[in-house]
Symmetry: C2
Subunit: 247 residues, 2 copies
């Protein structure tokens, strides 16, 4: 298959670039690694594209549980259930090691998707599925998400406050949702040096160029996941990050 990359701006993926691609994958809650959400108007545009072209829209609701500063937006899938496949995952909310995710598939695609899954691995382990179903039915999953959202939001706010004090010329972006932030670096700090400085302090962060389609065109920035360190290690990790980025 030919794969086209959509350009990005502050409103998310430039879905107006969609033409005859046949299918489009979008992550409306949070673009990785830049972190912006897909604007409401873009969502409508994407659905209109799917309707008029007959294309399949894959709505990857990755990070959809972790929206902080704005009301949750409805799923595109609800707008056009015959054109949109909705994908969610427990990898962010529970653990990537669980390997549990879910798809809501347009009726016309369902048989083919079920058959592809059967050929790939027959089916997913039932014990983990039953445990997750119990967790959802009991309300425990929702409580867990709410608790995590609060914890991660506090971490995000601490990250922003600490950088404002220690490295005020670093711009923090992509904060409205998700578990990572984009730290745009000032001219005094090369991306490669910032990654190396963080690494020397025991932090595994990545440069934005590692994710770029055309690395020479990207801004100089770090992609920092703030959900990863265990609770007792977060304060130390934050201090080390600030030390690596301070002027």
């Amino acid at each position: 298959l030919r794969i086209d990359d959509l350009d990005l701006d502050g409103s998310g993926a430039r879905v107006d670039e969609l033409a005859d691609q046949g299918a489009a994958v979008l992550t409306p809650a949070h673009q990785f690694p830049l972190g912006m959400a897909l604007a409401a108007q873009r969502r409508n545009q994407a659905v209109a594209w799917a309707r008029s072209s007959g294309g399949l829209l894959v709505e990857d609701d990755y990070d959809g549980e972790f929206r902080y500063d704005r009301a949750a937006l409805g799923a595109m899938q609800a707008l056009a259930p015959d054109q949109v496949a909705f994908a969610g995952t427990a990898s962010k909310s529970l653990a990537p090691g669980l390997r549990l995710s879910w798809l809501v598939v347009p009726p016309a695609w369902l048989d083919d998707v079920v058959e592809a899954k059967r050929l790939a691995d027959r089916f997913t382990g039932v014990f983990d599925q039953l445990a997750l179903a119990d967790l959802i039915d009991s309300g425990g999953y929702d409580r867990h998400i709410r608790r995590c959202r609060l914890v991660y939001r506090r971490r995000r706010d601490r990250l922003v406050a600490a950088l404002a004090r220690r490295a005020p010329d670093v711009t923090v972006a992509g904060l409205a949702a998700g578990l990572h932030a984009l730290l745009e670096l000032p001219a005094r700090l090369l991306e490669v040096d910032a990654v190396r400085g963080a690494g020397a302090r025991g932090l595994a962060v990545e440069g934005l160029s590692a994710y770029a389609v055309a690395p020479s065109e990207t801004r100089s920035a770090l992609v920092v996941g703030y959900a990863t360190p265990p609770e007792h290690a977060f304060t130390t990790a934050l201090a080390r990050l600030c030390a690596a980025l301070a002027a």
Copy 2:
């Protein structure tokens, strides 16, 4: 890929038919559905084919834990670790719903197999893997296998004894290993009628023709799994099977 079927005789797959196929899949412990083991000489022949042709031999040790009447044979993989990939599974010993199995891969194939797995589903759920590792380390898995082997062997013996009393013209085959038997039917009983008669008594058994490459050439027989009914239901299931097959 072109797929060739190997013929079968009492010693298992006719591995002397192997030529330039490139790869061969064998189930040495137990052929499904006919139930014979692959004779020691055939194993040696298969390994010799892999060595001389450079082909890959896949040793699917399905049912390998459930051998009843003879000493365990060593794995072909141990004879030629560079030519043989060994596959085992917890689907028979624990539960198919676990979706856990394992591969011992020739070193030259390892990178490609790991990459194919990564592309298929990244990795298998770690919680089930950790639980299985604990069960193996503790010796509990071996104890479980020994206990199950005894239980299944008793069921098998009860099946043979009951049929000898109630339907002595039914020939029971494929009993040396595994969790199913092949019941070869006398001329008085059409396979389709035997399947229907068992079904009418609440038993899900299959006719051998359901598995045949060329259905018209198969013997008239039933494939009967004796590990499936829960312990409290086995006696009833056995009585119903005998009633369905009795003259």
